[in-house]
Symmetry: C2
Subunit: 105 residues, 2 copies
């Protein structure tokens, strides 16, 4: 028996501020991306609309956006971001006055 969709709802449209993490599936970076997503959702629970995880087809990709601003591009930076770098980048866009405690040091 095929599952029938319960109801069509417009609430599913993307909600800003939206963080998007695109990661290379071939490199197995999904867990790292999901970990970062959870950290951001805890730190910015009240401030973020959503955090999206996107399996990337391009090898070596690990990019992070806040809405349409790209705040990290692994190919350009030649490394992964530290969590505190991403938290600061999100804070600077979403809630500039918010203190991040350790992540600010």
């Amino acid at each position: 028996m095929r599952t029938q969709p319960v109801v069509c709802s417009l609430d599913s449209s993307p909600k800003s501020p939206r963080v998007l993490i695109e990661y290379c599936t071939g490199c197995r970076w999904g867990l790292r991306a999901a970990w970062m997503a959870q950290e951001l959702l805890v730190t910015f629970e009240k401030e973020l609309g959503e955090v999206a995880l996107r399996p990337g087809s391009e090898s070596g990709v690990f990019n992070v956006w806040v809405d349409s601003q790209q705040v990290w591009n692994r190919k350009e930076s030649h490394r992964f971001p530290e969590l505190k770098e991403i938290k600061r980048a999100v804070r600077d866009i979403v809630e500039p006055e918010k203190s991040l405690g350790h992540s600010d040091k």
Copy 2:
């Protein structure tokens, strides 16, 4: 020093098929939602555009959409979905011919 956004990119716009999982933050259901997201991203690595996690302000909320179709509503179902139920619902919309092995039994 404030982090400067690297570049504005349109690639950050939502990509279909898009799964959205909205969860109650007060109930601490973020880990469950993130776990489910990772399972979907592994099972449907090639088929999904993205999986988004949305902190919900409404108490007791745990809803899942595939694009604009809601496929689970905890308040209506009075329980969490089993993972295989969500995998089947996503499969039925995104890739009806795809076999899910155990999840299909």
